[in-house]
Symmetry: C3
Subunit: 399 residues, 3 copies
């Protein structure tokens, strides 16, 4: 079987001179602890510290970058053991799903998914041969055996990976019980939450009603009035800060903000809560709420993250059968300059506000950037000759 | 006179390591036969196998990449022997036109046109000196002499170039007589057609009325009714498949699709045929017809090619004097995500549908792509570090 | 203190083969005189030939690329000695401002500003150590001493820099007294002006009323009528040509042009002058005036420069306190194809018209270009493998 080997210079420049610089820079950071401000992990892992069961459950079924590629090549999601809407698991043997994935692993050649997973296979699980149909069972068994051992429990891996800080993301209707359990357990791993209130701000979100009810209950506020609704956000932001949160996170299609009068806010809010807001009013409500979140960030010091530009759930049939986040999200061009103006006119000169803007469209760097106290991607300017990846990383981590 | 020499590594990377990989990859494909799915040639060449006459007629007058550059530098199209509207040839000595071109050949330094034509000059015609005012007559005479010989007839060149398959493109009002003649001739060259119905779908096309009449006659259907018009498309698609077609081709400004009710289609069609459709209705009709073409592709298995994004005939004066395709087309940014949604909502999960999307705007890859069964450019993801050209080629050929 | 050294290959490719070509090309042009068609300097410098006083006044306070970066990091503009609205200087010791700048110079690592200024420090002022808090006073004193010497007067530097031609830019309400003084002085430096009438064309410009009055007075025309207003432009263009101008310069947000009837122009003009034009009418007026400027360029032979795409004065608070051009301009995506069509339909085939289009968005090259007699960026096509910078430079200088 072909050997799995990771080239120590992978992703470095081909040119010897610049590769030497890349090696030198990498050597300076390779041993540092990981600080992961946007960690995309489930805090339940660290709360329960339960063992994962197998490669399909851990690596394949939750990874939309993997199954959407396979789906595009005509492979059914059920055959990959991807959960259906509501979490219902298809009746698929996870080993068979893994074999199917392994037989199609060549489709990922040269992709970030392939580089990432080969690293996991070689460095985390110590596997020495490449993944293909012939090695599928060897992979499945090796990974299952490892996962059953104490060294592969979530907390053990957290420590092995030398993670100094990991920030997860929870919705405004989350009771944060897993974060509380982590703290109550006495384990020393530094896992914090992030306040992501999309589902109680976006009237078009499919969980809006359900999450709003939880939001009301957890905050104890009357979310039926504009002032009560804002108070509920303040309350929950405080709850999240109690669980270590230092940031909020907002992911709507556009970056639009607004600066409406209180009366206009109240009228718009009444429409939204009455289920009478049309698409334009829903958009305006999201815009006003971005501004309100900035205002609250000035009050409580939380960093504000905005990542617009993803058209979500574009495949109507998949959305109906499998629900959100099943690989039919598409990046789209995004306007920032006029969209952010109302919020910046209010708070853009405040030294106390930190906003991180993400983009899914690298050509944005050719056009839209602004220097203000609040929003600044210094690396975009600071590394004009740098690679897009470097610039993107800089922008994301700026200020 | 300066020697014309083609560097064997032209267009390869300058870096020695990556150049070595490029050489190795190229060596694996350089000797393969050519499969040309989008061949832009005239089937009459292979039907009649008549000799071409001279360099101006063959290489200069039909190539809008050449004459538009020269026109931009103040050179008149008449002086380059470019046909006027309706095919009328200006009273220009083709040798004089070639001399004018040769004297300005330096303007093309570093362009794709220059690389392409130098290859033709050196490899096809065996010319050993560079093109300039001094070598213009040598070029003209050498090329004329070659073209008069049997080895330079269209079919002989087809075989010399090792072409396994060549697909031309014909309109819905074309009787395919050249393709029939090729088949009737007994020649073994594999030349197939492609169904390109733009001029009978776009009410704003300047040949709409004329081509619609031919379309009606050739199909034998009543194209005055919506159902008859659709039936005529089905009939002609079958005619084209009889002449080897495996694909259709659609080139409107936008990629917009629509999903109207039958009643709405009939009402819109009546307006279009009555000459009463305004610009928005013409756009909507094109959009609905892209969806109809996808529906028919599902029925008959033809691959669907969509290449939006060219603003055509932008120079009003040139369009009036010289007609379509005379070099005043301009690439333009194109939206795909919302434009294709109606068609994808209908057919995007059908394993039997293959759609190839082209783009004239490479920055599209930074934004808009989607994984579905129907539309997938795997190379865009598969080669994140690849050159734009490679990615474009991949996307174009992706299933 | 760390040495300040300029690598002779800075900004050249890292790859040895292409770097060798870059060295060879650079050697061919490095010694040539400078022809600066867009010089962004103040003609008063060369009229009075007065000495500059210190580093802050010369290099820091007028450079919005410097102070906007520092402002984004929380540094007050007053502390940097940046003039307030109307030119009022804050009560800041220029040496203290320079020390503050020096202590933050590390923020500019890798930026064009840093490369540019390090060149100035080392080559023009002969400073041998890098700028930081510890060398701030050394820099300040060295520069002040140099500026006090005859060799650092504006005219002396003009000659030392081997400038063959320098074009400044003046508004339509400028009396050109500095250019007249330069000519009257007998000094041989070739400094010409450029006609930039933005502030008397854009009804939304904050100096519109004031500059229009000067424009009327200097032209002696009745700018209250459409014909008189056009006549005033013709008069002032002639004034500018008398001071060496060969070009005009136009910087509105969009590249939109228009072709209205005379009656429509007169009605629109009346609204604009009556202060009754809304935003759409102001935009239409600017569009029509771009076409009028092209028409006049055909008459008088001046090259027309259009550089759209900057959203100006985005920071409302800074605009109120510090006025225009204080670093809150943001590049924005710009549409050219439809925007320029009305003007090109009129004049796009005229051999006598030269238009230079600028873009602040490099991705424009992936989409919008057109070959016509009037507008042609040949380098965009001519160097498909060239760097963006090279292509931008080409486009800017293309005839």
């Amino acid at each position: 079987m072909p050997q799995l080997s990771l080239h120590p210079d992978r992703l470095f420049p081909a040119d010897p001179d610049t590769r030497a610089i890349a090696r030198e820079l990498y050597a300076q950071v390779a041993g540092l602890p990981i600080v992961s401000p946007h960690g995309h992990t489930d805090p339940a892992w660290f709360a329960s510290d339960a063992a994962w069961t197998n490669a399909t459950e851990l690596l394949l079924a939750p990874d939309h970058y993997l199954f959407r590629m396979l789906y595009s090549q005509g492979i059914d999601l059920d055959a990959l053991a991807v959960p259906r809407k509501g979490g219902l698991l298809p009746d698929t043997d996870p080993r068979e799903a893994w074999r199917l994935f392994a037989a199609n692993w060549h489709l990922f050649r040269g992709t970030p998914s392939s580089m990432w997973l080969d690293h996991v296979f070689a460095e985390v699980f110590g596997i020495a041969v490449t993944l293909d149909a012939g090695s599928a069972d060897h992979y499945y068994d090796t990974i299952a055996e490892a996962l059953a051992s104490p060294a592969f429990r979530p907390r053990a891996l957290f420590e092995r990976f030398n993670i100094e800080l990991l920030a997860t993301t929870e919705g405004a209707g989350d009771d944060l019980k897993h974060h509380k359990a982590i703290r109550a357990s006495g384990w020393k791993g530094n896992v914090v939450t992030t306040y992501r209130p999309d589902s109680v701000i976006d009237p078009e979100h499919d969980s809006f009603a359900r999450d709003l009810a939880r939001f009301a209950k957890l905050s104890g506020e009357d979310v039926g009035s504009w002032q009560g609704y804002l108070a509920a956000h303040r309350k929950r932001r405080a709850d999240f800060r109690d669980m270590g949160a230092t940031a909020t996170d907002h992911g709507f299609l556009s970056a639009r903000t607004a600066d409406l009068s209180t009366a206009a806010c109240e009228a718009l809010f009444a429409k939204v809560m009455g289920g009478k807001a049309d698409a334009a009013e829903a958009e305006l409500f999201r815009a006003q709420m971005l501004t309100e979140m900035a205002r609250m960030s000035l009050e409580d010091g939380m960093t504000m993250q905005i990542h617009p530009g993803a058209t979500r759930n574009h495949n109507a049939r998949l959305f109906a059968s499998h629900g959100r986040d099943k690989g039919a999200d598409i990046p789209r061009g995004t306007e920032y300059v006029e969209a952010l103006r109302p919020m910046l006119d209010l708070f853009g000169n405040e030294p106390g506000l930190t906003v991180i803007l993400f983009t899914l469209d690298e050509t944005t760097y050719a056009r839209n950037w602004r220097r203000s106290r609040a929003i600044t991607p210094p690396c975009a300017l600071a590394r004009p000759g740098g690679s897009t990846t470097a610039r993107r990383a800089c922008a994301a981590s700026a200020k």
